[in-house]
Symmetry: C3
Subunit: 140 residues, 3 copies
């Protein structure tokens, strides 16, 4: 068994789902990993990770629109707003999705379904620089 | 350390929580794994995985009923409806639950709590054939 | 590669987010683990695990307040209430958050972001004794 690690740097343009599938796959190929587990971890509290539909962009649009409705920005009861109207909402949206993902690797690639992609979900209105920790346990 | 893998095939009858605990446990026993980590991954975007109460069926009924209310099917603002009224809702419900689970294995069994079961949560109205990737890192 | 495991015992005082970051870090140091993956699993169905903001307590207050609003206790349609008004709601809140977390370890510490903490989210009104299974794959 073997261990690989790196950090992916992603620039977001503000709120929305940013596809990172290809970047993770490219890293697996660079390492030559054939089989094992790939662990992704996001060391941020106002963005999150989601595995979702990758074919039709309207699916992502609906995920983002749902979050705007479920966790609206202008609620009078929020107390955590030092960094603006998207402060409390970002942490709540991150809590409802994922900070880490664990995905099997087979035959040199992520074992995602045909219609699955991996997304960085930015919850902040302004662009941010985000890091994603990639860890791979190779069992080749 | 050792590595085991297989794919579980589950037929769902439409929406609801389908208990898969016994199928996963049976696989661990077939492999003779004593200790380690069990990783489950669902390569589908309109179903998800949940660990929840396994004793009283009303608990699952309430989880499913809550999802129907939180993510209702007839919202005029959904744009992703190519596959029907349960299209956008299925992806949203999957986002709010889990696509993967990581569960410790001890003494040859999943280290679940006394009242925990593992469920495949089908979000589609019609029956589907679902696959669950099982990966086990054995540390015996 | 090496394997470490233990169980953390936490007493909660009722609903709210309980910081367990230091307890997990202390365990890593006691084992002398330098690098690998740390897996946390909660064998309970009415509490959950969350990675969130650790600097400003108002962030956690808003997470808890949001859950009270999203999954209110007095809904006439709940059917699972054998253990009281916080019975169905506890399972629903657990479903929307996490039962397990997988966090990278580097240079002898959890690779959390500067503002990330690990929280046990108690969903029951009354104090509970909770267990958290800690598993570490060391790749030193």
């Amino acid at each position: 068994m073997d261990w690989h690690k790196t950090t992916l740097e992603i620039s977001t343009r503000g709120k929305g789902l940013h596809d990172i599938t290809r970047e993770v796959q490219a890293q697996l190929r660079a390492w030559g990993v054939r089989e094992g587990m790939c662990f992704l971890f996001l060391p941020h509290t106002s963005a999150s990770l989601v595995v979702s539909e990758n074919w039709d962009p309207t699916a992502r649009a609906d995920l983002a629109a749902f979050m705007e409705r479920l966790v609206p920005e202008k609620e009078s009861w929020y107390t955590h707003d030092l960094e603006g109207a998207d402060d409390a909402t970002s942490h709540i949206r991150a809590m409802l999705t994922d900070t880490g993902l664990s995905i099997p690797v087979d035959e040199g690639d992520l074992s995602l379904g045909s219609w699955q992609g991996i997304y960085l979900f930015e919850h902040r209105a302004r662009p941010h620089q985000r890091r994603i920790l990639i860890r791979v346990l190779s069992v080749d």
